[in-house]
Amino acid sequence: MLPDLSAFGRQIDQSQALDTVDVRIKKELSDVALNTAKSKGASYADIRIGRYLNQAIITRENRVQNVASSESYGIGVRVLVNGCWGFAATNDVTKEGIAKTAEKAVAVAKANSKIGGKPIELAPQKGYGEVSWKTPIEINAFEVPIKEKVDLLLTANGAAMAGGANFVNSMILAINEQKYFASTDGSYIDQDIHRLYPNFSVTKIDPVQGGFETRAALSSPVGMGYEYLTPSESEKVQGVVTRYKNRYDILEDIKNATKNATEKLTAKSVEPGKYDLVLDPSHLWLTIHESVAHPTELDRVLGYEANFAGTSFLSLEKLKSGNFHFGSKNVNIVGDKLQKGSLGAVGYDDEGVECGKWDIIKDGVLVNFQAIRDQAHMIGLKASQGCCYAQSWQDVQFQRMPNVSLQPGKTPLSVDEMIKGVEKGVYIVGNGSFSIDQQRYNFQFGGQLFYEIKNGKIVGMLNDVAYQANTQEFWNSCVAVCDERDYRLGGAFNDGKGQPSQSNAVSHGTSTTRFNGVNVINTKRRIG
């Protein structure tokens, strides 16, 4: 699920955001939790001390709607007692508060263990001692003055209004997760994780017809610092509309967006039918997220998400068969928790496992899932794949997807060359509406921009486009993936799963990819 972005935490000022908590204090506090849990009967315990900073600059047209810097600081203790998990969290970060919370976690585990069930089996994990990891950023977004961010957004909004937009909303969201993890395995892991998301939406109204169109930014949320907002010509992808790699030019994109929103008002409404689709990475990342990354989550495959996010059309049997053709031979999918610039990149996951990279689909065949410590044994793994994550200190950690990406084609192929080969197709840029069933068979996706391809050429803009497909049929219709020159990351801050629902930040990389014979529907309706 991709729910709306939610605000969290309490308001703080900017200078406060640059404070950090001394690692010696965190170690001492951690030992209180671990020792208390052990003394109360826990066979395993971990503690996460989290300080989550969140700064949002939100504007519309020529005014600032909100400048909010918030902090959420607290601890979460997880314990294993009688083979059952217990968890408790508090914002009372004192030795006394932590000890009480550890006791509470043990009480929760004991209450639940009376229900019975198979005892939890944890994959062995060595302790790393005292280690640390930091997102490799060039500019800390929290050190950039608020005025600079406000000025950038208001300048961008001004460009949109000058170009004829009726409304424009824009924002910069910066996140810093200062996470400290300690466990009875002997790990004390200090991590400093940074993420950034600039975004906007331009609206153009047609008052006569009573209609309106919007165009959102072609930016991506990134695991980077403020350097992402420093434009660079070498990071631009030219074409029918400019797209961006590791640097984003908001002023250029918002001007293009304003033109696009105006064009959309009069664009031709699509004729429903079968089309070959050419999908830009700014669009395809979401299709990968929903139809590949989610069904290969092991907790879904096993049934742990049955009550909310759902299960999966994949199974342990399909994996074990070694010949389940998820997609065509062009489809190579990897799970990767290390990829530079990605949202999912961390040194260690939220149960103290050092992260890595692995194949999930190789030459079209399903070869692996995504697992954590208490699941590894279920697919014959001796160690976790490091996919454990909690959205904050007050939420329990559980299996979340890593960056899941489609590998670029090995044969040289540019986007222009790909389009030249299409007789009747639609080229889709940017992500729009999205929906998929609870086992990930049937999906429907919209987009931001749709271009009609006829006989190898883009002939104009289309509107009211959405495509529907079955996951396995769709990925088996993948006939070509452009090479690594076109490879880009897309992603989301708000990948939702679990109860209570938690958001995970994750990226998905791909080059432009072609799928043949996909069902396109027309989404235009009138009310009243």
Partner: protein
């Protein structure tokens, strides 16, 4: 350096009563030197338990308290918050909000704070729910598992309770307080082969009304009934939506914002300008309103702007009756502010679910919908899927379970096609977990666009 280690705990605050909250807030307000100051205090204590494959998977117990101060000089506002409650920390948070206000850009839409208001006492608190413990949660889950283990089904479920309080004071003399308790429960039951699935969801203010055993029984019946689903052609069908399905379908429609409509970017915008207030947009049978004093679905009696929340009709007999106006937009338009919905209640009819089925020549009974997303905000066209029990009706009888459908439909179009309504039931959205009071409904010409193999 703010984040230092302390030897003794002074952070943890219990759920404060009205007098305790007011005393604390008055003390904080006494530190203020700003033109205007508004302080809010919130607290939450609660726990959850989650189970899958007939065993507990995760469970937690969480408590948080936060105090937030907004100081305003002219039209410049700064906000700061803290979760430490000693006098020095309380004064510090006020000073910090004042410093931030001086640095903030001017908000041209800032409205002066409201003076004292009269708020009726809400009925949102329940002592039984507030008294829940890890043990009582585990017992309720054990009752649910009793059903599924005996029926050889696999259960995945979630139970969560929370006790919360919200209090607010401002320098113009306004004070407001509310205490609430709530519990939600949902369960999905599946057979071992994964060919049948059923669901039930419940939400209550009073936990004594929650019967996890009988809710799980209903889910188990749906699971058994959905085995062996047949594929039938998608297209336009008469549908009977159970409340949990209707709730999720309509949730995207409950945005009655006047500003958005007047700006021309809402389904309530009028062609050529203005809003559709006073226009008949839906069937006569459709009446939707908010009422904080509904005993089944109580809500707070004041909103964040300090405005009293009262019974408000949004749609009455199909006609758009009210739109919400923020204080700024109301002032600009010269009308009275109208707070947004405190809760949503849809009036029902007297047709039972059984009678709806009996009167259906050819149709589909929908138990639950899933992954609904906006396709077109102008027409409110939504897409999503059926899930956990979809049944074909012919000549007044349920004939057989059918494979799930994807739909592309607008709730506005749907509410023009109402054939019959049943008795409203409290139901929770399967995505937002918000509670609503919505009747089961029979709808003609509902658009299914494709089939799904998902169970």
């Amino acid at each position: 350096m703010l984040l230092t280690q302390k030897e003794e705990s002074d952070n943890h605050m219990p759920i404060l009563n009205k007098e305790e909250a007011q005393t604390l807030l008055k003390k904080v307000l006494s530190y203020s030197k700003a033109d205007e100051c508004e302080i809010s205090l919130t607290g939450r204590e609660g726990g959850n338990i989650r189970y899958a494959l007939n065993a507990v998977s995760t469970a937690g117990d969480i408590s948080t308290t936060t105090l937030s101060v907004s100081s305003t000089f002219g039209k410049k506002t700064g906000t700061a918050a803290i979760n430490e409650f000693d006098d020095a920390s309380l004064e510090k948070v006020v000073r910090r909000s004042e410093e931030l206000a001086q640095l903030a850009p001017e908000n041209r839409e800032h409205m002066p704070l409201l003076g004292p208001q009269t708020f009726a006492e809400s009925i949102t608190y329940n002592a039984n729910t507030a008294a829940m413990t890890p043990e009582s949660r585990a017992e309720m889950v054990a009752k649910s598992l009793d059903v599924t283990t005996k029926a050889n089904l696999s259960a995945a479920g979630f139970l969560e309770n929370a006790t919360t309080f919200d209090a607010m004071i401002n320098s113009k003399g306004l004070f407001a307080y509310n205490k609430a308790a709530d519990v939600i429960f949902s369960v999905t039951t599946r057979n071992q082969e994964g060919t049948g699935s059923g669901y039930a969801a419940r939400g209550f203010t009073d936990v004594n009304k929650l019967d996890t055993y009988s809710a799980t029984k209903i889910a188990a019946t749906k699971a058994a009934g959905s085995i062996g689903a047949k594929a039938i052609e998608p297209g336009k069908y008469t549908v009977i939506l159970e409340p949990v399905a209707a709730t999720y379908m309509m949730e995207n429609m409950f945005r009655f914002d006047a500003r958005f409509a007047e700006e021309g970017r809402s389904f309530l915008s009028k062609k050529g300008g203005g809003t559709r207030m006073g226009e008949k947009l839906m069937d006569d049978k459709v009446t939707i309103y908010s009422d904080p004093f509904n005993t089944e679905l109580p809500a707070e009696t004041w909103d964040r702007d300090g405005l009293p929340l009262e019974k408000t009709y949004w749609i009455k007999n199909g006609v758009v009756q009210n739109l919400s106006y923020s204080r700024y937009w109301a002032d600009k338009k010269g009308v009275k502010p109208v707070p947004g919905p405190s809760n949503i209640i849809m009036e029902g009819g007297d047709t039972s679910l059984e009678d709806m089925i009996k009167s259906t020549e050819r149709g589909i009974l929908v138990s639950r919908l899933w992954y609904i997303r906006m396709v077109d905000p102008q027409s409110l066209l939504l897409t999503g899927l059926t899930r956990d029990g979809t049944f074909y009706i012919e000549n007044g009888k349920i004939k057989f379970p059918v494979k799930n459908f994807r739909f592309n439909e607008s709730p506005v179009i749907m509410l023009n096609n109402v054939e019959a309504l049943g008795k409203p039931e409290r139901s929770i959205s399967v995505e937002s977990y918000r509670s609503y009071l919505i009747p089961p409904m029979k709808i003609r010409d509902f658009t299914f666009s494709s089939l799904s193999d998902a169970v």
